[in-house]
Symmetry: C2
């Protein structure tokens, strides 16, 4: 492997492919369409590994991301972010070329589609299953009914069903709580689907339930009633997902490589090149009440080891990271070393790093590192 000269995002291809296979096999076992979210990796190269594992349909979180993957051969894309008027020209351009699904959360956006859509698109109404970020509350029956009515009046919009993201699993304290949220989500969504399928007599073209959070997908074994699964973070996982209980540390498929630039023996701290512009400012709070911005690992020629329990990334500024260590562990790091750091939130770290390096020195793309 070529020497590391600056903060570099390493990807373990074997671990990443194992994570992709896990997703594919889980969806296959339950007989449900897998439409993984590509917002975590945002990479054509990693997308190719997904394709090789049999994935044909994908989810993205912006029109920009949809455009990137469409230009690189993906033909079936759902934008799982509320469609809005300012995107109309871009949506028309994309809808001419690929099978595009939109996420609908407002009557205004349905009106825009009625007036300005030139090519057919699919549409899902987003339901708020308890995260309270966005989506229509299931109890707002009048609004849901009015929106479906308007969508069905537009022959250019194919109403596909209902979508949810149970993001409140991220606040879960243990697996049981994730399971509970997942079961509640399925129950709410199936009821909504059944209600409006019946009400609008859509049995010939049955409506779908599409669900998506990574913790729920990782932990649950019952997806009865859902037609589509949209996990995102499973492709890489990260420290936050290990804390929630979605994965083990050895499933994390990306790590930052950071040069050690200074040691401070008076406080057992080690400074690395690796800061907020590399990691993002997401953190977890560990069992000792410490803020943790990353877990420290030893790099090997073809991967990295287990998190070192006596060290954690304790503070970040723009370019500096400060590792807090035990007195004993302090002596194991030297100025001039390159140390590994498992990210707290791999989506944000990848979005900042804009590219990956494999252990056989390939550079993999990331949307934000490309000029389209």
């Amino acid at each position: 492997m070529q020497p590391i000269t600056q903060p570099t995002l390493l990807i373990d291809e074997a671990k990443c492919r194992r994570n992709i296979d896990m997703m594919v096999n889980k969806a296959k076992k339950h007989g449900i369409r897998l439409r993984p979210h590509f917002k975590t990796h945002q990479s054509v190269a990693v997308g190719k590994w997904c394709q090789e594992a049999g994935i044909e349909a994908i989810t993205v979180s912006s029109l920009k991301m949809a455009t990137y993957f469409a230009k690189n051969g993906w033909q079936d894309i759902t934008i799982a972010f509320p469609f809005y008027a300012q995107e109309m020209a871009g949506v028309n351009k994309l809808a001419e070329e690929i099978d595009l699904n939109l996420t609908i959360v407002s009557p205004e956006s349905i009106k825009v589609l009625k007036e300005q859509l030139d090519y057919a698109v699919g549409a899902y109404i987003k339901i708020d299953v308890g995260t309270h970020r966005t989506g229509i509350r299931p109890e707002d029956g009048e609004q849901i009914e009015a929106m479906i009515g308007e969508i069905l009046r537009n022959p250019m919009v194919i109403f596909k069903g209902f979508m949810a993201h149970a993001g409140h699993t991220y606040g879960a304290r243990d697996e049981a709580e994730i399971q509970q949220i997942h079961q509640d989500t399925l129950k709410i969504m199936c009821k909504v689907r059944d209600t409006y399928q019946e009400k609008f007599d859509l049995h010939d073209d049955p409506l779908e339930v599409s669900i998506g959070d990574t913790p729920g997908f990782s932990v649950a074994n019952d997806f009865e009633g859902a037609q589509e699964l949209r996990p995102g973070n499973c492709v890489f996982y990260d420290v936050m997902q290990t804390q929630i209980g979605s994965c083990d540390a050895d499933q994390i498929a990306v790590a930052m490589a950071c040069p050690v630039v200074a040691k401070h023996a008076d406080r057992y701290e080690v400074v690395i090149h690796g800061g907020a512009v590399h990691f993002s400012k997401d953190f977890i709070t560990d069992g000792h009440g410490h803020k943790v911005f990353g877990q420290i690992v030893r790099l090997t020629p073809d991967g990295w080891g287990e998190p070192i329990p006596e060290m954690h990334l304790a503070r970040l500024s723009q370019e500096h990271g400060v590792i807090s260590t035990s007195p004993e562990a302090f002596d194991t790091l030297q100025t001039g070393d390159v140390i590994g750091v498992l990210p707290i939130h791999s989506c944000l770290t990848a979005n900042l790093m804009r590219g990956y390096r494999t252990f056989d020195d390939q550079s993999l793309d990331h949307l934000e590192g490309q000029i389209l």
Copy 2:
């Protein structure tokens, strides 16, 4: 102005140039060299405005950033981040072409320079004036003396003096506390400088004191004893700086433009396209104990208004932002609007957005949006 179709970082050129002029005039008034930190804007275009205001020397926070500005005509650059061994090849390349100053915090890095430096560079020893991020503590006289001795033995390294970044001003509660930290910093730094200038008999080529934090620069009016000032964030300012007391809201020179994508009347929340990949996750806590990820402003054809007190950006996920409003203010925002958001930390927001748009539709560069 062209319509906004996605989250866009707007720059108010007049405000930005006023901020630059303020920096230049303040340094001139005190007869001290200004070497502003370019890590905030990372832009050749904004750098040109600095040049037009008379700035000739700059500070950056990475070798990558130094290389970018050197390629674009800057000839006098200090990298205010600890020099480390892995950067040696890049430093040699740059030192051949421009006047380059390095930051030294470890004996190991001095050894690397001795063995591998091919072209002359300047060097500052970084002193820890109380931030405890990195730098040598002023009381570690033996270490400072040994390091200076080693530096002076290398004819390729010109020892310039001492550098500090009093980053603990960011934790200050009021102007008086910033003033106190600033005075303490000056006192510590001048004493260190005087001590070693005397000890190594360097009166013919006197050592410098270079200081740099934005709050201290903004608030203080006494820089007696310093030879160089390195403010960074003054060029744009941001909400965090208004909270610290470094600036007024009307000095903030960048704002995000974000489409409004959904409204939720049950909780008086408005969802925008604008999330962690646009703003970063930095926040302040306001007087009511709310986490604030951005302040909301109305956009006008040539700028933006004052922060709207009844609204704040309350939560962020990857692409979504959630604005919390009062019941009355809720009705003033509509799906389809484009709203302005003043960033909490403009350096991180600019680093994520990778480019700026002016109100006369120019696109300005940012290092991370360029392929070098």
